[in-house]
């Protein structure tokens, strides 16, 4: 569910949606969501001063509250 969410958002923001890859590494209490995008799209998912990344993290943490779990978003370079 969290993985899908990030994938959905990222695909709406990048130039190369087909190169968006999201993996979820599930831990007992914490999930790590790894977001991979094309090199040219890195700036798009990070944003000016990390604003886009921060917005995604905010939405992710709202989602994880509902899932009663902690989730961390890692953007892979």
């Amino acid at each position: 569910m969290l993985r899908d969410l990030i994938e959905f958002i990222a695909k709406a923001l990048v130039d190369n949606p087909d190169q968006v890859k999201v993996t979820e590494i599930e831990g007992e209490k914490t999930s790590v969501i790894e977001l991979n995008v094309a090199k040219d799209d890195l700036g798009k998912v990070i944003g000016k001063q990390g604003r886009t990344a921060r917005a995604m993290r905010t939405i992710l943490s709202a989602a994880s509250t509902k899932a009663k779990k902690r989730a961390v978003l890692e953007i892979i370079e």
Partner: protein
């Protein structure tokens, strides 16, 4: 490929025959019903015939067309969906991924597009001090700008949160302003986000005795409410 004619006692039977003869799965058939013939006594005694025209669906051509479309006009294939529809679909799909049922109404106000959301667990989508709401709006604005190659003035509200907040801020700002007038010295609000600060600035825009100014760094700033000119210098001295 041209249509061929098939006949059967029922529609299903005719389709089945077509499928076998053409060597194509039923779901890949393009079918037109030609004739439903109910002879016999009141259609009761068995001589009902259904005639259909069938051929293999031309997947290749369709796929090619789509491909041609997207390469020729990458943008315009997407713009069959208006920004309003896109935004609505985006928000509702996103809500679904959060396991929430989101209902979106679209409205316009002062050249601004409004997405008014109704949601059973609105507090999750709003977040502490509206931070999730702001994040959603930020992301949607980006997605729309990306898709339509131009920015759009828009606002999201969830379960009337912004509306309530606007009322509360207006009341608070007016109360502060009257204290500023009475005490003759500037006063500050709590830290507010840009949208909330705008409410206050707009409120006093045409007020001759009150001046408003944002103060501080970062996303949330305080608004300083002060008196204009002579009275204000008096206030500074205290």
């Amino acid at each position: 490929m041209d249509f061929e004619e098939f006949e059967g006692k029922t529609y299903e039977e005719a389709v089945k025959k077509a499928s076998i003869t053409l060597g194509v799965e039923e779901k890949d058939l393009e079918i037109e019903v030609k004739e439903v013939d109910t002879k016999g006594i009141l259609g009761l005694l068995g001589s009902k015939r259904v005639r259909i025209l069938a051929r293999k669906k031309e997947h290749k051509n369709i796929a090619e067309e789509i491909l041609k479309d997207t390469t020729e006009k990458t943008d315009s294939t997407l713009t069959t969906e208006t920004p309003e529809e896109y935004g609505k679909n985006f928000l509702e799909a996103l809500g679904k991924k959060l396991g929430l049922n989101v209902n979106t109404k679209i409205s316009h106000s002062n050249g601004r597009l409004l997405f008014l959301l109704q949601c059973d667990h609105g507090d999750i989508l709003i977040g502490k001090e509206g931070e999730v709401l702001e994040a959603l709006q930020f992301i949607l604005r980006l997605a729309i700008a990306k898709r339509y190659k131009k920015g759009l003035k828009m606002l999201i509200d969830i379960n009337g949160y912004r509306e309530k907040r606007k009322k509360a801020i207006t009341v608070m700002a007016k109360r502060l302003a009257s204290r500023v007038k009475r005490l003759g010295r500037p006063m500050k609000t709590e830290p507010l986000n840009p949208y909330e600060r705008r409410i206050i600035h707009t409120l006093f825009k045409h007020n001759k005795s009150i001046r408003t100014k944002s103060e501080g760094e970062g996303h949330t700033k305080k608004v300083v409410i002060s008196l204009i000119k002579n009275v204000q210098t008096d206030g500074n001295r205290r």
